[in-house]
C-alpha cells in the first residue's frame, strides 16, 4: 500500500509539562506547561518551520518528536500522541519505552544549535559520525568507514578530516560534521533546532544551502526550529507560529509570512528588521511587555495580556485553530479585527 498520502508524523493534543520543585522539602509546587495541547501533521518531504519567541515551546515540540524529553527530564509529564508512520503501521512515539524507541531512532535524527557543545571533544570526526552506525546498523567496520567518507564528501568536508578532533574546526565546519552525523543512519526526518543561529552570517548561507541540497537528494522531511523568520521563510514549505505552548497560526510559508492573520503572528512579523534602509516601520505593531512565564499562563487565550485586540471573552475561552480559508489555521476568533486606533 502506498504511504504517500498519509502524514509522516501526526501530533495530536501534545502536552509537555515539566514539574517545578520548591520549598525546603523540594516538593512539587507547580508545573511549566511548555507545550499545552499542540496538534499538527508533518507531511512526507516537507519542511515545517516552527517559530516563536523564547518560552513558546518550539524546541520542546521538536524534542518530543525525537522522544528526548524523558531522557532529559525523567519527571516530565507527557500527554497526547505522536504517531510515526512506519512500514509496520503507525507507532505512537509519545511514552514509548526506551528500548522500543531505539528501533525508531535511526529514522529521526537531530541537528543542534551549538556545534561546539553538541560534538564530543574526545572523539574524532570518524568516531562521531560512525557512532550512530554502530548503534543502529549492522554494517561492518569497512562499510562504516566508507559511509563516513561518503558523508564527509557530501557535506563538503575533506576526507582527511576524518581523523581530526572537533576543536580543530570552525563553527561552520562543525555544523557540517553535525549534519553528516545526522545523515549517517539515512533518516527520514531531521529535527533541526536553530541550526544556523550560532554561525557567522557569511557561513549561515552555506549551511542553509547545504540543508536544501540534502533535502532534495535524500527526500528528507525537516522540522526547522528557529527564531530568525527570514531564514525560516526561505527554507520552509509551511510555518507554525507558537506562543506560550500553543500553535496560534499554521499555514503555508506564503500565508503566514506574507499574510499573517493571528494578532501575535502579525506583531511578530512586523517586528522583524528588514535588510533595507528604506523599509517603512511606521506600521509596526508594537507589543507591550514580555512573554509571560509558562509557570503562570493567563487563562483563556495565552496571548491576551499583550494582544492589541483582546476583549473580555478572551480571558474565558481558550481559542482553537480554525480554518480561515485556503487551509490557513488561526487560533483567534477575532483575527481580522483592527486594533483600536491609537489616541
Amino acid at each position: 500500500m502506498s504511504r504517500d498520502g498519509r502524514p509522516l508524523v501526526s501530533v495530536r493534543d501534545l502536552k509537555v509539562h515539566f514539574p517545578v520543585y520548591g520549598g525546603v522539602l523540594r516538593h512539587k509546587i507547580g508545573s511549566v506547561k511548555a507545550v499545552d495541547g499542540v496538534s499538527f501533521d508533518l507531511r512526507r518531504g516537507e519542511v515545517l518551520g516552527l517559530v516563536g519567541e523564547s518560552g513558546s515551546g518550539k524546541t520542546t515540540v521538536g524534542r518530543a518528536i525525537a522522544n528526548l524529553l524523558r531522557a532529559m527530564s525523567p519527571d516530565v509529564h507527557l500527554e497526547g500522541s505522536i504517531l510515526l508512520d512506519t512500514q509496520d503501521g503507525p507507532v505512537d512515539l509519545n511514552g514509548l519505552r526506551r528500548r522500543d524507541m531505539n528501533r525508531h531512532r535511526a529514522v529521526i535524527q537531530l541537528i543542534f544549535q551549538d556545534p561546539y557543545s553538541s560534538l564530543n571533544p574526545r572523539m574524532t570526526v570518524q568516531g562521531l559520525i560512525e557512532r550512530p552506525l554502530k548503534l543502529h546498523t549492522t554494517l561492518s567496520r569497512q562499510e562504516r568507514e566508507e559511509r563516513v567518507l561518503g558523508l564527509l564528501d557530501r557535506v563538503g568536508l575533506q576526507p582527511e578530516y576524518a581523523n581530526r578532533y572537533p576543536h580543530e574546526f570552525s563553527g561552520g565546519q562543525r555544523q557540517r560534521i553535525g549534519i553528516a552525523r545526522a545523515l549517517a543512519t539515512r533518516p527520514v526526518l531531521i529535527i533541526a533546532d536553530e541550526p544556523v543561529s550560532a554561525l557567522d552570517v557569511s557561513v549561515q548561507a552555506q549551511v542553509i544551502n547545504l540543508m536544501q541540497e540534502l533535502r532534495a537528494d535524500f527526500g528528507l522531511t525537516y522540522v526547522f526550529v528557529a527564531h530568525d523568520l527570514s531564514v525560516v521563510y526561505h527554507i520552509s514549505d509551511r510555518i507554525a507560529v507558537m506562543y506560550l505552548g500553543n500553535i496560534v497560526e499554521l499555514g503555508t510559508a506564503e500565508q503566514v509570512y506574507k499574510h499573517p492573520r493571528h494578532p501575535y503572528s502579525k506583531a511578530l512579523l512586523s517586528s522583524v528588521p528588514m535588510p533595507d534602509p528604506r523599509h517603512d516601520t511606521s506600521g509596526r505593531i508594537r507589543l507591550e511587555g514580555d512573554i509571560p512565564t509558562p509557570l503562570a499562563k493567563p487563562s483563556g487565550c495565552g496571548f491576551r495580556t499583550r494582544c492589541p485586540i483582546a476583549r473580555a471573552e478572551c480571558a474565558r475561552d481558550a481559542p482553537f485553530l480554525e480554518d480561515v480559508g485556503d487551509g490557513q489555521l488561526v487560533a483567534c476568533p477575532y483575527a481580522d479585527e483592527e486594533p483600536p486606533a491609537a489616541s
Binding site: 519567541e53 548561507a205 521563510y233 512586523s270 528588521p273 535588510p275 533595507d276 508594537r286
Partner: protein, 333 residues
C-alpha cells in the same frame, strides 16, 4: 572641543591608527590592525562585522577596557574633546568612562550586579561622577528609568536585577549608560540575546533617544545587517581587524563596493528568492592568527587576483564620506 569635517558634521571622536593585540599561545594576534575613523555628533553609526572582525575590540580599546595581559593597545591615538584617551592616567580615564563615553553589552544579566538594587546601580554611576546628594541622584535615576520605558520606575528602584525580564534589564542597562548624559554611547550587540518583539522595542527606544538627545552619538556594534538598516545613518564594515568599507546607510545597501560587503548582503535570504540557493561567501572566517597576508579577505574573495595576495590595499576615500579598501575600486577615487 570639536573639529568639523568637510560636510560640516562635528567630530566628537577621532580614532587614528589604532592597533590592539592579544598574546595567544606565544604568538601576537592583531585583533585591531590599524583602524581610523571618526564619530560625528548626533549620528547613529554602525560597526558591522563577523566574529574576529575586531569590532568589539575597537570599542573596548576606545574605553580602555582591554584586559592587560593578554591584551595591549599597541599603537594609535583616540582624540576626544582635544585629549588623547590613550595618554590619560587610569584615574582620568575613569572620569571619562561612563560620564563622557558609555557602553552597553550584549548580556544584560551578566552586566548587572545581582546583589544590588537597580536604584543603587543607576545612582552609583551618578554619584561616582557628580557631587550630588542621594535624593537628587534618586530623582535623576527615576527620571532616566522612566525615559527608557520602565513602568512605575520609582517603585522598581528597590528591585533586584533578577526581578526584571530580559528586555527590561536591557532598558536598565541603557538607563545606567545614559544617566550621566554621555556624548557617545557604544552599544555592543544590545539586542542579540533578545526576542524579536523585544528587539524591536529596544531599537525603537535607541532611535528615539538618539533623536532626542542633542549632539549625542550612538555607535551600534553588530553582526546583523537588518538591525543596521533599521537604525544607523552611517556604517563601517570590518573584517580581519581592518575597516573594509565606510558608507552612508543607503549607499551601502544600494551599491556595496567591497566584495566582502556584497557577499554579506547576498548571503541574507530575501523574500523574492525564496528557496533558491543563497550566494554564500565561500570558506570560513579564519582564526585570528590565520588571516592571509595581503588583503585580509583575499582567501574568500570571489574577485581575487595576484596582487591581492601580496599587497594589502589602502582604505581610500572614493567619494566624499565613502571609503573602500580594495584594489578593484582604487581607480574610482
Amino acid at each position: 572641543m570639536t573639529s568639523s569635517t568637510q560636510d560640516g558634521a562635528q567630530k566628537v571622536l577621532e580614532v587614528r591608527n589604532l592597533h590592539t593585540c592579544f598574546d595567544i599561545e606565544g604568538e601576537t594576534a592583531w585583533a585591531v590592525a590599524g583602524v581610523d575613523f571618526d564619530v560625528h555628533a548626533s549620528e547613529f553609526l554602525g560597526i558591522v562585522g563577523e566574529s574576529g572582525s575586531g569590532k568589539s575590540v575597537t570599542a573596548l580599546s576606545i574605553l580602555r577596557l582591554i584586559p592587560d595581559p593578554p591584551g595591549r593597545i599597541a599603537q594609535g591615538s583616540i582624540l576626544f574633546q582635544g585629549r588623547d584617551l590613550l595618554k590619560l592616567s587610569y584615574a582620568d580615564m575613569r572620569k571619562v568612562r561612563g560620564r563622557e563615553i558609555a557602553m552597553i553589552f550584549q548580556e544584560p544579566m551578566t552586566s548587572l550586579n545581582p546583589v544590588f538594587t537597580i536604584g543603587m546601580q543607576v545612582t552609583e554611576m551618578l554619584r561616582h561622577h557628580e557631587r550630588i546628594s542621594k535624593e537628587v541622584a534618586d530623582e535623576r535615576a527615576i527620571e532616566v528609568l522612566e525615559r527608557v520605558g520602565i513602568p512605575d520606575a520609582h517603585k522598581r528602584m528597590g528591585d533586584y536585577p533578577h526581578q526584571f525580564s530580559g528586555g527590561m534589564r536591557q532598558r536598565v542597562m541603557i538607563a545606567m549608560a545614559l544617566v550621566c548624559d554621555p556624548a557617545i554611547l557604544f552599544a555592543d550587540e544590545p539586542t542579540t540575546a533578545l526576542d524579536v518583539t523585544i528587539q524591536a522595542q529596544i531599537l525603537d527606544l535607541m532611535k528615539d533617544l538618539q533623536a532626542r538627545r542633542q549632539g549625542a552619538a550612538i555607535v551600534l556594534i553588530t553582526h546583523d545587517l537588518a538591525v543596521v538598516a533599521e537604525t544607523c545613518q552611517r556604517v563601517i564594515v570590518m573584517y580581519g581587524g581592518r575597516i573594509q568599507e565606510v558608507a552612508g546607510i543607503e549607499q551601502l545597501f544600494d551599491q556595496p563596493l567591497h566584495p566582502y560587503t556584497r557577499g554579506l548582503l547576498d548571503s541574507i535570504p530575501h523574500e523574492q528568492n525564496k528557496g533558491a540557493p543563497l550566494r554564500a561567501i565561500p570558506g570560513n572566517v579564519p582564526g585570528i592568527l590565520h588571516f592571509p597576508s595581503g588583503c585580509k579577505f583575499c582567501s574568500r574573495c570571489p574577485d581575487v587576483f595576484e596582487r591581492c595576495k601580496v599587497e594589502e590595499p589602502e582604505l581610500i576615500e572614493v567619494r566624499p564620506g565613502r571609503m573602500v579598501r580594495c584594489h578593484l575600486t582604487e581607480d574610482l577615487a
